[in-house]
Symmetry: C2
Subunit: 406 residues, 2 copies
């Protein structure tokens, strides 16, 4: 028999998961409720209201999907995309590739507009592609942690209205850390996860859906047998290709209808609710500023150490930074030293960047001065121990914090 859970106290400064807020962990220790008990549906309604705040939206349909961030992505795409529908995918990293991958499996007829990893796609290229291809759906990643770049999406809604498309945005890595102004963008579906800037565990995916998108999805409604009312009528559009990710049924579950679908993941709901409470109690502007300062301090510190920072400065995510692994240094040796000598995790990289960059995140509960400084100090020490002539990064980061009076 294995022993009880007792993980080491490790500082998680990678691209997520990061350490959870203690308040979130405590919220999960509350006992369960029946799924239709009034207190449970009350918590569900409160969670909806809280995430409207976090997503900066008035969307009625704002709730959580029971799965990881990737579950939110698939729920959005399978519900928005009828087989054969044309989807325009904005790609410049691994998670853009994931959108393609999911669309292939859904049988969508997708086209892409691409930028090299480390860049973003200029909005006029997106607009040009949209006008040329007239897609039914435009899908994009807000912050792609694989490249540490944030895609500008300001005019997304306007473009979609012009060509009659709906839009999907994956904000997994940015929600609660960078501004995700859903209504100002005019985005139709935006999804996220808890394990990045919201400072909770993976396993619950906040989602918000515009009335426009909800109307489309309800036209695909096909309530399952066993729970459907005898007088239920189905929508006239193609049935959604997944039961678990059928947003029409999930919205019916989160509505006053309370039509049973899955059994809501109660502990994860408690976690999601507490993440949102923490975010709104801090205040979104204060929160974005905290992440932005932490990100600038990581960049300044890395450069002061003598390391090159990856990607385009103008579009850098504030909460995760790519740092080139110097020649003659083995990236995994440094990561192992960071973990074993300092109990700090920094991130590796995927695909074309594997072995070329580390990724240092400062997200949620960890986007704080002392954690950034400790991480930079540890990185310097590990680099010197491996023979790289690292200068001090701590001083530069500390100066940045002191100059900001944070």
């Amino acid at each position: 028999m294995f022993a009880e859970i007792d993980p080491p106290q490790r500082l998680l400064m990678g691209p997520g998961p990061v350490n959870a807020y203690p308040r979130v962990l405590r919220a999960m220790s509350a006992d369960l409720l029946g799924q239709f008990d009034p207190e449970m549906t009350g918590y569900m309604n409160e969670t909806m209201a809280l995430y409207r705040g976090v997503f900066q939206t008035q969307n009625r349909w704002t709730f959580v999907i029971d799965g990881t961030a990737r579950a939110g992505i698939e729920a959005a795409l399978v519900s928005l995309t009828e087989p054969g529908a044309k989807v325009l995918i904005v790609r410049s990293g691994r998670f853009g590739l994931l959108l393609t991958e999911i669309c292939e499996r859904l049988g969508a007829d997708y086209v892409t507009v691409d930028a090299d990893w480390g860049q973003v796609v200029p909005f006029d290229r997106i607009a040009q592609a949209a006008r040329a291809h007239r897609p039914q759906v435009i899908a994009a990643i807000h912050g792609d942690t694989s490249t540490t770049m944030a895609q500008p999406l300001d005019s997304l809604g306007e473009l979609c209205r012009e060509i009659g498309a709906l839009s999907y945005v994956d904000a997994t890595a940015t929600l609660g850390g960078m501004s995700v102004p859903v209504d100002a963008w005019g985005a139709d579906i935006v999804t996220a996860g808890l394990q990045k800037c919201l400072g909770g565990p993976s396993g619950s995916a906040p989602i918000t859906i515009s009335d426009r998108a909800a109307e489309f999805i309800f036209a695909r409604r096909h309530t399952e047998k066993g729970i459907r009312a005898s007088d239920a009528t189905d929508g006239n559009r193609a049935r959604i290709g997944s039961n678990y990710f059928d947003l029409a049924m999930i919205m019916d579950y989160w509505s006053e209808k309370r039509l049973n679908h899955h059994t809501e993941a109660t502990s994860m709901l408690y976690a999601a609710r507490e993440c949102a409470r923490i975010a709104l109690q801090e205040g979104l502007e204060a929160r974005f500023a905290r992440h932005e300062l932490a990100g600038r301090a990581v960049v300044a510190g890395a450069r002061a150490i003598g390391l090159a920072v990856y990607g385009d400065d103008a579009h850098r995510m504030t909460n995760v930074t790519g740092i080139f692994i110097p020649d003659a240094i083995d990236g995994e040796t440094i990561r192992r030293r960071m973990r074993e000598d300092f109990e700090i995790e920094i991130g590796t990289a995927f695909g074309p960047l594997a072995g070329k960059i580390w990724r240092i995140g400062a997200m949620g509960y960890n986007a704080r001065k002392h954690k950034v400084l400790i991480t930079l100090g540890a990185l310097e020490g590990c680099l010197r121990a491996e023979g790289f002539a690292a200068r001090s990064g701590v001083d530069a980061a500390l100066e940045m914090y002191e100059a900001s009076h944070a």
Copy 2:
């Protein structure tokens, strides 16, 4: 701003979710780990080993899906069922209907072998249908909580070998409460959830996969771009129609390859691991006996009160009991009284049974003498308060416990 999570202390005696073991809630309060940290992958491997015990199997591929029990069902079916494949579905309740529903969405060519709600399908009828239709997959529900019946599945594997099929069994409502002898059945994929007899929160779905089924699924492997090795080769069978539920990629994530797919839901993993530890520490036989006695006590108590018990005595699930709502009694009024006066939840019913039966569960942490007795006493009281001449059910249940020396 809403207040912190502080649910009432309610006894959940419905068909699930039930109250979680305090140890499970405490396990979830441990902080997170990086998803590839050695301690995290260690916990993943331990969870695999523990669920081999719970599932009574040697299957290497035994792990958890990040979602509710329904996510496990869909992952199994989408991975086992190629478009156009013939699936034989064994149906006698709501969850049998759910299998049909999912197969429709997958584009499977399914046939069914049915029994009326409250009955099970005799195995010779399953065998007859299998020989006539030669399906690629046979899918069944072990315990369908909608009807409270447990489907016998002893010869499932033998039948599948005879006709060259793979099998899927949903054991959501029985795993950890009734015997689910995966290897003795010869079942190929079996899935479950935590929120019934395992006594944890919904949101993690244990799954076990035979080598035979794994081989089939790996023949459908198509590793996503962005993480695939340059020399990766894909399987020669049809690509799985979901990314999130692609068991080939999920197995690669849980294997020594550790190929990143989703971000493992760490807190739910901690919960799943603790549920299994508790089950194996108690011992499966002791646990099945505890559920069986609790179920018999509920049945005896209900009958002593003067209520009729729903369904076929020979195939009753031990952990959930259907009880007819007497004429002239409104079922929802009793449920509301149970909740408001006694802080006890009992279950309503679905479809053809809605308004006709209550469902009383005694599962996991709640399959205990005092909880059964308290529930029966409360039910008597509520029935008398509403004018039904209820006799004592407590006495009969207590006698049963005393006779068993439990």
